[in-house]
């Protein structure tokens, strides 16, 4: 019954444009100039298509009802008209030219990244995003939030609760951007092709391994808030599970966030210089493992052989530490490189892999990872 009501409400919704957005029937208008221009273009082409459809389909439907044999219609025998052929060649060309003009304007505008005042580098990894602020010296990884991960195989109730109604659209570390400032994105990938898409910004750009693409965005002041998106290029097993969440804040809040992040980065760098106890490494390693490794090698270390080998009894985890560090840093085949993680996190996760799951490998310190880079 609930489904039936939904169906009915959809039918009603299609009749009235004002409720389009409510039911998620139409493209978002978004908040940037670009996304609004794209929306206008989309609606213009849509209405042109509707107008053509009305003309073409009414002619066809009229003919189907009026020119039936059962109504005694006698077939005419005309079968060509150069005038008609010319008319329905030339008129569409004119319509197309009229559509191409605004499309060209929007395209040229959105490809011009020269106005940008700050830069964020976005790197796609299997299956997470890395954000670098080169000028501010901030760098972090953004993964699917844990409660969404747990809810994938959980109950409907879990999915409703996950991320406050944002199941699969919630992350652990959000990208933070200031409003009122033109921002250039430099977009690339470390393994396969990904695509960074936030519909409300009108930004969607392929992240190609080994190449850098750019895009730009300016979120007008007054539109502070949270914006969500997803990877839009098939990138392997967990393509559906690498969302994007952006917090847009005022310039003042952004400055405060930057200084906090810089302080945290300094603390992390300091911690890499000290010698960690095995318990500290194991505790930290477990959380790094569950976030980064468990997707393929599983929380209990059983993996998904043969593509994703088991940790349990693994010859790498029980062998030479140097080989293990090298494999995690640089990747191999389906195993992506993890050199974007910090020395402490890498040391912790490698130690965890070598000592959890019944393995008996050695302890690895951040300094070992640092010297292996």
């Amino acid at each position: 019954m609930k489904r039936l009501t939904t169906l009915l409400s959809v039918l009603v919704a299609t009749m009235s444009t004002s409720v389009f957005a409510e039911y998620g029937l139409n493209m978002t208008e978004g908040v940037t100039e670009i996304s609004k221009n794209i929306y206008d273009l989309h609606m213009m082409v849509f209405w042109v298509c509707v107008a053509i459809a009305v003309v073409v389909f009414s002619a066809m439907l009229y003919s189907m009802f009026a020119h039936r044999k059962s109504k005694g219609a006698v077939a005419a025998q005309f079968h060509e008209s150069t005038t008609a052929e010319l008319a329905w060649t030339i008129i569409p060309v004119i319509i197309l030219v009229l559509m191409a003009i605004p499309a060209t304007k929007v395209l040229i505008d959105l490809e011009d990244t020269s106005k940008a005042e700050m830069t964020v580098k976005i790197t796609g990894h299997q299956w997470k995003w890395q954000y670098d602020y080169p000028e501010e010296g901030i760098s972090f990884i953004s993964n699917l939030a844990q409660d969404s991960k747990d809810a994938i195989r959980g109950t409907d109730e879990d999915r409703k609760k996950a991320g406050n109604d944002n199941y699969l659209l919630d992350v652990d570390n959000r990208l933070v951007l200031p409003s009122g400032k033109p921002i250039r994105f430099l977009i690339t990938a470390s393994d396969v092709i990904h695509n960074w898409w936030v519909p409300d910004f009108g930004v969607k750009q392929d992240a190609n391994p080994g190449f850098i693409n750019d895009a730009w965005v300016e979120i007008p002041v007054g539109n502070e808030g949270t914006y969500r998106g997803q990877c839009a290029e098939l990138c392997g097993k967990d393509h559906g599970f690498m969302p994007i969440v952006v917090d847009v804040v005022t310039q003042a809040e952004y400055d405060k966030w930057v200084s906090e992040q810089q302080a945290a980065a300094k603390a992390a760098a300091d911690s890499a210089n000290k010698t960690w106890s095995k318990d500290e490494l194991m505790a930290q390693g477990k959380s790094v493992y569950n976030t980064n490794c468990a997707g393929c090698h599983k929380v209990d270390g059983t993996g998904m052989p043969p593509v994703f080998p088991a940790m349990v009894g693994s010859p790498v985890a029980n062998g030479e530490a140097a080989d293990h560090i090298g494999l995690v840093l640089h990747g191999k085949g389906a195993m992506p490189a993890f050199k974007m993680l910090g020395d402490s996190d890498l040391a912790a996760v490698i130690t965890y892999e070598r000592n959890a799951f019944g393995n008996t490998g050695s302890v690895v310190q951040p300094s070992d990872v640092k010297s292996a880079r």
Partner: protein, 535 residues
């Protein structure tokens, strides 16, 4: 033809008995039937995979499978439907109909014809066997973008590459055979502009196949050497470029789209005049429009790649060129409607499928025009809007025309009539369910649901549910279709030689069930003129 001739044929040149008839046959009608049955079986297998996809997407959360297996399903569904179902079905129609339509006794290269069919079951078998290999079937989408399909792909990918090579051989041989048949075996009295449109569209399609399939073979060969022999065509660390893969793939891929739709245009151009009891409107403009579409299909490939980081000038060129395709396609639609206009229409099953083809293919054309607008494509790209678009053109376009053609020519193939009442029930069942299946996917895409994801956020739940229900109903409709066809072959009432009184074409001058060897003597000029669409 007199019955005396027929019994003479049966006696001396009839088919061999038993299974070896089908293995050794060089008869275009036998090979046509083999192609059609192969395509139908692959359609059912590809459809079963789609049922798996829609079952997983019925509700949020992963209920039935691992994400990797889901990716294998979408990949294999696409590959099987494109290379196993739609393309072989059109080659089957071409085999059955082209020699009869041009007044030729058989295809020009009958032994090669046998070979080009018998490669297919092996290629299809290799492709399907990857499901049972360690690491699973290919899971990188039917477009197999590198490096996901090279460095990061399962071992079974090498079998996929081999299968694609074989399918390519088969298609190229089929195309050469059709060109040779049309140009060399055509009745001496038949001019090019006397040819029925199905023959014209297939002739043009053959040139697309010969141009495009070797490019695909090149792409998969480069993949093979990247994977196994240390080359780096698509690997930036070795000086290669993953975007180059997409250029090569789509240089094949876009003509491929028209390979799957031009013969459909031909089919519809036969059926609509027959049931409107009126000559086809604008025969020569139909031929020129088909040729224009084929030419344009070679120069628009990068509209699949607007987001790869192309320069603005490139994006503008590909946008303009793409929009141009709307013109010849529009001409075709207007011609079909003018053919219907002031006709005297009846709506037997073939006409129902043909008329709904015009409706639904046009809807797919509209979404195609929208996708061609480069800036708007930013929001549409790789969403369910694209999925909806290409299913409207491939399912309610290409597949629709194949079903229409099957009902239209089934009496000529079997000498029997299908059950019209059941066929109408099947039609309404299919057309309602297919729209419930694919129409909501437009909304999903616009609302922001990416394609090729095994699970989705809760805002997409309702439309996915509706779409899945439509999918199951549409899938079930093929059980009825199977029954209708088998029932016709086994128990159908005898058909007349020309079961559709207004149908034109040399094939209708043959016996009710076209004799095993037809047109041993070429038709006369008078007969050709009488049966020409270009009257």
């Amino acid at each position: 033809m007199t019955t005396a001739t027929a019994s003479h044929d049966d006696h001396h040149h009839g088919p061999e008995k038993g299974l070896m008839r089908w293995v050794k046959t060089t008869n275009h009608k036998d090979i046509g039937s083999l192609y059609m049955w192969f395509a139908f079986i692959m359609l059912l297998i590809g459809g079963a995979l789609a049922m798996g996809i829609r079952a997983e997407l019925l509700a949020p959360g992963m209920q039935l499978m691992e994400p990797q297996f889901f990716n294998s399903l979408t990949t294999m569904h696409g590959l099987i439907m494109v290379f196993g179902a739609i393309m072989p079905a059109f080659v089957g129609l071409g085999n059955w109909l082209i020699p009869m339509m041009v007044g030729a006794p058989d295809m020009a290269l009958p032994r090669m014809n046998n070979w080009s069919f018998w490669i297919l079951p092996f290629a299809g078998g290799i492709l399907l066997s990857t499901f049972f290999m360690e690491g699973g079937a290919p899971a990188f989408g039917w477009t197999f973008y590198a490096p996901l399909s090279t460095t990061f792909a399962p071992d079974s990918t090498d079998f996929f590459i081999f299968a694609v090579h074989l399918l390519g051989f088969s298609s190229i041989m089929g195309a050469i055979n059709i060109i040779a048949t049309v140009l060399n075996m055509r009745a001496p009295e038949m001019k090019l502009m006397d040819m029925p449109l199905f023959v014209w569209t297939w002739l043009i399609t053959s040139f697309l196949l010969i141009g495009a399939m070797p490019v695909l073979a090149g792409a998969v060969t480069m993949m093979l050497t990247d994977r196994n022999f240390g080359t780096a065509f698509f690997d930036a660390t070795g000086g290669g470029d993953p975007v180059m893969f997409q250029h090569i793939f789509w240089f094949f891929g876009h003509p491929e789209v028209y390979i799957m739709i031009l013969p459909a245009f031909g089919v519809v151009s036969h059926i609509i005049p027959t049931f409107a009891r009126k000559p086809l409107f604008g025969y020569s403009s139909m031929v020129y429009a088909t040729a224009s579409i084929a030419f344009l299909s070679y120069i628009v490939w990068a509209h699949h790649m607007f987001l790869t980081g192309m320069p603005v000038a490139g994006e503008l060129y590909f946008m303009y060129a793409t929009m141009l395709i709307a013109v010849p396609t529009g001409v075709k639609v207007f011609n079909w409607i003018s053919t219907m206009w002031r006709g005297s229409m009846t709506f037997e099953a073939p006409m129902l499928w043909a008329v709904s083809f015009v409706f639904l293919f046009t809807i797919g054309g509209f979404s195609g025009l929208m996708l061609g607008i480069a800036p708007a494509d930013i929001q549409y790209h790789d969403t369910y809007f694209v999925v909806a678009h290409f299913h409207y053109v491939l399912v309610t376009g290409a597949l629709w025309s194949i079903i229409a053609a099957t009902f239209y020519w089934l009496p000529k193939w079997t000498g029997k009539m299908y059950n019209e009442g059941l066929a109408k029930v099947h039609f309404w069942w299919a057309i309602i369910s297919v729209n419930v299946l694919f129409f909501p996917q437009h909304f999903l895409g616009l609302a922001g649901m990416p394609r090729r994801i095994p699970d989705y956020s809760l805002q997409f739940a309702d439309f996915n549910y509706i779409s899945s229900i439509g999918g199951f109903a549409f899938g079930a409709s093929f059980i009825l279709l199977t029954y209708i066809i088998i029932d016709c072959v086994r128990n159908g009432k005898p058909a007349e030689a020309r079961p559709w009184p207004s149908a034109k074409g040399l094939e209708w001058t043959l016996e009710p069930k076209a004799q095993y060897h037809s047109f041993n003597t070429p038709p006369s000029r008078k007969l050709i003129e009488q049966e020409s669409q270009n009257s």
